[in-house]
Symmetry: C2
Subunit: 331 residues, 2 copies
Amino acid sequence: MSANITIKDVAKRAGVSEATVSRALNDSPQVKRATRQKIQAIAHSLGYRPNGLARSIRVQQSHTLGMIIPDILNGFFTQLSRAIEDAASQAGYDVLIVNTDEHLQKEAKGINLMLEKQVDGLIITSAGASTDYPKMLGNTPAVFVDRMPPADVVSQYDRVLVDNVQGTQDIIGCLIDRGARRVGIINSAVSATAQERLKGYHRALRAAGLPTDPATEATARVDGSNVPQMARQLLVNQKCDALFAADNTIMTGVLSKLPELSLSDFQLGAFDDNDWFDFLPQPIVTAKQPIAELGRIAVERLLARINDGQLPTQEFRLAAQIIPRPTATHP
Amino acid sequence: MSANITIKDVAKRAGVSEATVSRALNDSPQVKRATRQKIQAIAHSLGYRPNGLARSIRVQQSHTLGMIIPDILNGFFTQLSRAIEDAASQAGYDVLIVNTDEHLQKEAKGINLMLEKQVDGLIITSAGASTDYPKMLGNTPAVFVDRMPPADVVSQYDRVLVDNVQGTQDIIGCLIDRGARRVGIINSAVSATAQERLKGYHRALRAAGLPTDPATEATARVDGSNVPQMARQLLVNQKCDALFAADNTIMTGVLSKLPELSLSDFQLGAFDDNDWFDFLPQPIVTAKQPIAELGRIAVERLLARINDGQLPTQEFRLAAQIIPRPTATHP
DNA sequence: CTGAAAGCGCTAACAG
DNA sequence: CTGTTAGCGCTTTCAG
């Protein structure tokens, strides 16, 4: 951000006022064709580049969206961020991304940062239910994706999520159809989502007339560090014949433990799909989230709210697609 | 970016001038302790949030770095972006990310965007050798990571890369040590990098006294669409007993084709490592890039250049670490 | 220690 | 169709 050439330089060089240059550069129809072209030519030859900050500050909007995600290394969020970027850029908006590492403090810092950068709106995947979002956000529009805002303020925000209950129920149902009689679950630590997935798990068991057993239900730490040990606990000690991992990270933890357990004849299910699951010897039944859709709707909704702050808030629930995996290629 | 409360509001409320508020908020030592605390309290109670754009425009720097990457879905770049974000934020800089999808046009648009947003510097993983960076960038500092800038302007920019020759040579050498006699390569389309990796491949063959054969050398399309077919060509038609994939994307293409070829007794090597490679039945020898280092150095260097535009440019070559994979766990 | 005033680069009335 | 003027929110001389 060094001594750059400004609108003033162009104006001087073109022998017109700054206002005219501004108009010409913005293709205002109310400037003579000839002048406009001349000005644009001069601007180009001078290597003029508009200062977006100055513009934003003047017009009172940045045309920029902020996005708060907990872990960019997690494939789900990488894809989500990609989807959101695509949708936003199609609407002429840029997006700023901040990683929270699931830390509330980093999240707070990130949100602050974005507000200072004057984003027009925020897309948030919350790192925790304890944050006072209304106070943090002020009147900056926000939509929550993938994770619910804290219960006491849900109704104040739009949210777009996947149907966790149904998705989980489908997976477990599929495992049972294929012969599972004792299904273990390693759930995530994210409260609302975890509850829904647990509910789906229970429903599937009940629907099949199988008993629930607290001994087959475990909850992973947010960093996943205790997952391998839990996998062992459930598959070996508890003799589960199928194991459900409630998300991406958890499934990875499970997979890392499997070789040393050297079991056979058990099934695997997981929420969130990964392309490379196709390459594994052990098939995994997954629920694939409609990530592009999630992103598209979130952006759409956020932009709508930016244009009309009074819009009533809404919840969007999208169905997850079950990928049974052992099919054609996996006999 | 709606009607927010400004420094003026705080000043009025505190009965002081805007200047004093500004000083107080920036912890200037030249404002009386009492006034400062009072002002800060008022600012807080009013929910005042500084307008970063206004500040940036005034002080002529944004404390923001821009990052241009070709594909955020590629694990290598996700990790790289993460590393860069970490390093930058530690230095008090934010980072803006733009995805190019390997499209020169998107890259140009992205760079433009960042410049308009007045980033203080740019970290670029170039999408093509044909771009006229000096013209695009003007005097905004930039460092190139992972991919060389165009040959005619290399010397104008800092670059931080991995030692592709050595890394590849190590992988191929390892495959040969384990018995490979006819090693195929599917190279990437990225020119400079590809040449280096091909060189390493040739060197390893020569060192082992093996012949090179153009029939065992293929080049993937940038989108990887023809990789599966190439894998078939090399492994089946050309009867290679080992296959080297020059990057992440290519390896994925190869893996997707393997099941239907149902071969046995062949080896796999790849540049770029992925955690999930550990879970595959077929071990893969990889060269793992020191991504955190790459990011750290890039940021360090960029910041140094921001502070001193006259700094002589430099090239950093980091060693890739070979992961032989069939070890302890893979007998 | 604090205030008044100028100005970063840009756009939006308001005149002409 | 174009110029003049004012001002977005902030920091920074320069005075006091």
